[in-house]
């Protein structure tokens, strides 16, 4: 039975704008801009150069170390390989492809003859080559999560919480593609060697739960759908583990430490498509919504589609739009330009033109303690804020600031409207910088001691 995670808030879910709208295919864009960093880890190295002809699904970026490969999402000619603005802020090397509108499929894509006969290693290899990353926004390479978890994991959890307001991409996938979700879940069960997969879904998606239950019954799949009480940040990996199993992931640890592995709904769909059709990640379901959008929609588009194309398909922006967000309103990144492409982790594009942010000029903490009570990892944001604003790194460390996952619950609830989460991002960097500086100083001192020793000898 589903349990509760600690803390959390209840923002208005705002999903009514799009949760009854089927996923639409966006008209093919004339040009796509594919950034070489759409995953957690180092950016990919481009495999093509300007003038090359590419086809859909062709690998155009190879990863080094931690990462996932990147594929062409349209067929056409590479126009440029150059730095372009992207959703994580700043510029990133990107491959710009002019769409020839032929939608030619690459020869590299071959559907396995008999998907059910694949070994675990073969399946993990397919997931890796398909460039699958966590589609919920964290973009952690899925193949790393699977290979790192095999043997340790006894509970595979599919994350259908979709707790961020506005976003409905996972909800629509459950409704319209339940066989992909359940199929992907079955392959995950095989890879991990577990006999049961749990899908955690917030109970504001009853129809999605019913749709998946129908497929589970048809296929006699070893999958259970667990309805969860709506609360943000239910979809946080550690929170979902706690809600489903009652266990807590240790500080700094991964869910595999308590035998869990968590995969997003659309990641699961991508695994299914990769294993059954050999299709890498070349499209993304994006919810375009918010008060600044004229006609909110769920759109499926090639990776690299300029955000402006999506907004145009939704009737454009209202006058007075002051904020454009890639991702949800709680954790998404505010953009300084609309000139960014859709990446693998872009689950939503939101535009705001009303007073959503409610900024005040002189925020003053009233010590109400609401931030303490909503923190899902049991921190004391009001004290951390003071330490961070004064640069007190030791106190920050002692207050466990590194446990903060920047979910934004404290800032959301703060009646004084203090920018707590923002300060913790800065504070975490301070702690990291201090640790690095200390380490460098210690090394220098050791080297010096070494030198003097040698001299004396």
């Amino acid at each position: 039975m589903a349990q509760a995670f600690f803390g959390g808030v209840h923002p208005h879910d705002m999903k009514a704008a799009t949760n009854e709208k089927a996923i639409e295919q966006l008209a093919p864009p004339a040009e796509v801009v594919i950034p070489m960093s759409m995953h957690f880890g180092a950016p990919c190295a481009p495999l093509v150069k300007a003038g090359d002809h590419v086809k859909v699904g062709q690998k155009i970026g190879e990863f080094r170390g931690l990462g996932a490969p990147i594929h062409a999402s349209v067929s056409g000619t590479v126009k440029a390989v150059e730095p372009r603005p992207y959703s994580m802020g700043g510029n990133m090397t990107a491959i710009v492809i002019e769409n020839d509108m032929k939608n030619e499929l690459s020869e590299e894509i071959k559907a396995p003859a008999n998907p059910s006969a694949l070994t675990v290693e073969e399946m993990v290899e397919i997931v890796k080559e398909a460039g699958i990353v966590g589609m919920g926004g964290a973009t952690f390479p899925t193949h790393v999560k699977i290979s790192g978890g095999i043997g340790k994991v006894d509970t595979v959890i599919i994350n259908g919480a979709e707790c961020e307001p506005y976003i409905t991409g996972d909800h629509r996938a459950m409704l319209e593609r339940p066989e992909e979700v359940i199929g992907g879940a079955i392959y995950l069960a095989k890879m991990f060697g577990v006999d049961k997969v749990v899908i955690g879904v917030e109970d504001n998606k009853r129809d999605g739960i019913d749709a998946m239950n129908r497929v589970i019954a048809e296929k006699h799949a070893p999958v259970v759908v667990e309805p969860l009480r709506c609360r943000y940040p239910q979809g946080g990996e550690k929170q979902l583990c706690q809600a489903v199993t009652g266990k807590q992931v240790p500080p700094g640890g991964l869910p595999s430490a308590i035998g869990c592995a968590v995969f997003n709904i659309n990641t699961t769909c991508a695994i299914y498509r990769a294993i059954t059709q050999g299709m890498p990640v070349v499209t993304k379901v994006v919810t375009v919504s918010g008060s600044g959008v004229i006609d909110p929609k769920n759109l499926e588009c090639p990776i690299g589609t300029p955000v402006a194309n999506l907004l145009d398909a939704c009737g454009g922006l209202k006058d007075g739009t002051y904020k454009l967000i890639a991702g949800g309103p709680m954790m998404g990144m505010a953009q300084y330009t609309a000139d960014i492409p859709v990446a693998k982790g872009t689950g939503a594009v939101l535009a705001f033109c009303e007073n959503e942010e409610q900024t005040v000029e002189h925020p003053q903490c009233i010590r109400c303690g609401k931030c303490v009570s909503v923190c899902p990892v049991k921190l004391e944001p009001l004290f951390m804020y003071q330490y961070a604003s004064k640069g007190m790194t030791e106190e920050l460390n002692a207050a466990n600031i590194m446990d903060c996952m920047e979910c934004g619950a404290c800032s959301y609830i703060c009646p004084a409207r203090i920018h707590l989460t923002h300060m913790f991002k800065t504070g975490k960097q301070l702690v990291k910088d201090k640790a690095a500086a200390d380490k460098a100083a210690a090394e220098k001192a050791a080297a010096l001691a070494d030198k003097t020793q040698k001299k004396e000898a």
Binding site: A308, I325, K378, F383, D403
Partner: protein, 339 residues
């Protein structure tokens, strides 16, 4: 179509949405929660209860405005916290309190206790109670003359001719429960507030109504008032003065400023701990000191000073009572300790 090149976008850190509740709305909730007690006070003590409360509110807002103006700080009267302080200050005074005494008391509340330490959220003792403590010390006679229930008092000028009476707390302080009962005060009188006392403290019913409103609106959490009241209940039951422990307990519970203190004063955000466990400890501490003063002190009433003392311990409680870190289960901690 939209001109995407010329959008005026603000790029701030997440989250990009905020809850509707803000400082002002919280203060407004506290004011609403105090209104039943105020309305009742006007019925019990006449219109002077209202004019005194209004004067106190106006003084508090004026001191806040003047101080921040002189210090060239941004004006914050709009957050309504000074209104709450003003109402609370009037609530803990007898209806015959002079306007001048309130003028002085509100200075200590707002300027000395609150603004000198940085304003809202920075004060470490409850402003209204600091004001009251100063007024008791400076205007002792005026602050301990209690109008009889439904005695008439003049809006302005001397109230020397107002009929006065000992409050139930005076009887209880001399362990004279029988004397109080003999004077004709019943349990119903105590509960409804047909007794003498400070403006805002007499009606237990109205205070409980306000407290429930605050709890329902999640303005306050249950830990402080429950810890406070339960401690008083348990101690008075274990150590009754007189034959009837239950009656003694209930009179202690309903008499004096206990309910006003437990729901409206001890729960003050700035001066109480931030963790639930801390709030429970703090509430229990308030209860202990209240009973200590009521039993052994020379004052009739212990609520004001008990809360002030616990205010001073809040920083200490917050330092040592921390939430259990996420992912560190209690058994792990023991294991680590044993290693």
């Amino acid at each position: 179509m939209t001109d995407y090149k010329n959008l005026k976008l603000i790029a701030t850190s997440s989250p990009h949405i905020r809850a509707a509740e803000n400082t002002r709305s919280i203060m407004l909730d506290v004011i609403i929660a105090m209104l039943p007690a105020l309305v009742y006070a006007v019925w019990a003590f006449g219109l002077r209860a209202l004019t005194v409360t209004c004067a106190s509110v106006i003084f508090c807002m004026a001191w806040e405005w003047v101080y921040r103006k002189l210090m060239k700080k941004n004006q914050a009267v709009g957050d309504l916290s000074a209104v709450v302080t003003g109402m609370l200050l009037a609530f803990v005074c007898p209806v015959g309190v002079t306007y001048f005494a309130l003028f002085v008391g509100s200075f200590f509340s707002i300027v000395v206790a609150k603004q000198l330490f940085g304003g809202i959220g920075k004060n470490f003792v409850n402003p209204a109670l600091v004001g009251r403590a100063m007024m008791v010390a400076s205007f002792a006679g005026n602050m301990t003359t209690w109008a009889k229930f439904q005695a008439t008092s003049h809006l302005f000028g001397s109230n020397a001719d107002t009929v006065t009476a000992a409050t139930p707390m005076a009887y209880l302080h001399t362990n004279n429960l029988q004397g109080l009962l003999d004077s004709g005060v019943t349990m119903t009188d105590m509960f409804l507030g047909r007794i003498g006392g400070s403006i805002g403290e007499i009606s237990a019913l109205m205070l409980i109504a306000g407290g429930i409103y605050l709890l329902a609106r999640k303005v306050i959490s249950w830990q402080t008032p429950v810890g406070y009241i339960a401690t008083v209940v348990v101690l008075t039951l274990i150590f009754p003065r007189g034959n009837d422990a239950i009656t003694w307990m209930l009179f202690n519970l309903l008499g004096g400023g206990l309910l006003l203190g437990a729901f409206f004063m001890a729960t003050d955000y700035a001066t109480s701990p931030v963790t639930p466990t801390g709030q429970l400890i703090y509430g229990i501490g308030c209860g202990l000191i209240t009973i200590f003063i009521r039993y052994f002190g020379s004052y009739n009433e212990g609520v004001c000073y008990s809360i002030l003392v616990m205010n001073l311990l809040t920083a200490l409680i917050d330092k040592y009572v921390k939430p259990q870190r996420f992912g560190v289960v209690k058994s792990d901690k023991k294991e680590a300790a044993s290693k």
